[in-house]
Symmetry: C2
Subunit: 215 residues, 2 copies
Amino acid sequence: MSKVRVASFSVSLDGFGAGPRQSLEHPLGENGTELHHWFIETQTWRKMHGEHGGRGGVDDDFSARSMRGVGAWILGRNMFGPVRGPWLDEKWRGWWGETPPYHVPVFVLTHHTRPPLPMQGGTTFHFVTDGIHAALELARRAAGDKDVRIGGGVATLRQYLSERLIDELHLALSPVLLGRGEALFAGIDWRDLGYRCVDITAGEGATHVTLAKRA
Amino acid sequence: MSKVRVASFSVSLDGFGAGPRQSLEHPLGENGTELHHWFIETQTWRKMHGEHGGRGGVDDDFSARSMRGVGAWILGRNMFGPVRGPWLDEKWRGWWGETPPYHVPVFVLTHHTRPPLPMQGGTTFHFVTDGIHAALELARRAAGDKDVRIGGGVATLRQYLSERLIDELHLALSPVLLGRGEALFAGIDWRDLGYRCVDITAGEGATHVTLAKRA
């Protein structure tokens, strides 16, 4: 059955899903790339970026699984780019170049309308201005019997989580202290929302934690 | 060389070192015992409590190591007991019965004086009213060339950490979401204080994280 899921979402030991002060220079916030070393070294990541090599193993298995069976994505606007406020022009086309690694419809949450942006390789960015429920409805329809993946960032994930709209989360706990940044858990009672840990698996560069919502 | 360390300190996936509302009935806060399942099942724990059996393996190795070479402990008052305010009498003698599992001097931080309390098996509780630095000085002197272990709870650990007085921390990350309780990381920039992750090892019931202070 189609699921709404978060996958390969990196978190620091102190609970940050991104560093502070995201910018064009630091798309993942300051020191944020340290969270993703486990992923960048995998075969899956290399292949996604048209490269060869990389590491197989547990981290790679989780990476590959996170991409499999995804029919649509939802991204917060900050994950799409560093532009804030109205789209002054349409020059910004995402962080990923002309062939983004999605290959399916991607719904971007924003307060500012913009026409759909078809990219190479099957990705089309759709800009949704009427909230997280509307975006999920569109994504579900686009995904059919495949999964909807909530890509992030932290604020977007927390919004969907708080409404119990996420079925499963795979978090990759990186062996890093960020000290500051976007806190994933703070101020939300995940237990009370019905989430629990269903698996922990040690990888080469991260510890993989799977959380699921009680039926 | 003698170290100041935290060891076998259990933390939930969402970063809580104890549940909320500690009481006589819930010494570790509500649902707090879930954090310690990994430890309670080890041979080391059983032996400490005069029992046989228990599980060997990674969790047990970390448990045994956490007890080895400790010459003195420091505990926050809440870790010593549920009594708040002045000691109305001296009936409360700790959570652990007449033979506590310390077997060395234990310095309890409190705002209220009380004479030292010698117990069976080598443990003596000393009540220190002039702050964390004074307690550490006393503990260091008592420990000699052995280590001083900061036992907890969360508030005590955070106080020592904020002053960079802890050399090494072994946290046992339990596969549990507590949802609420005493947050270990919130509001302190561990990275900025100079701490970093030096080891992660998967155990049977917890993931063992070792943090150390940069020299």
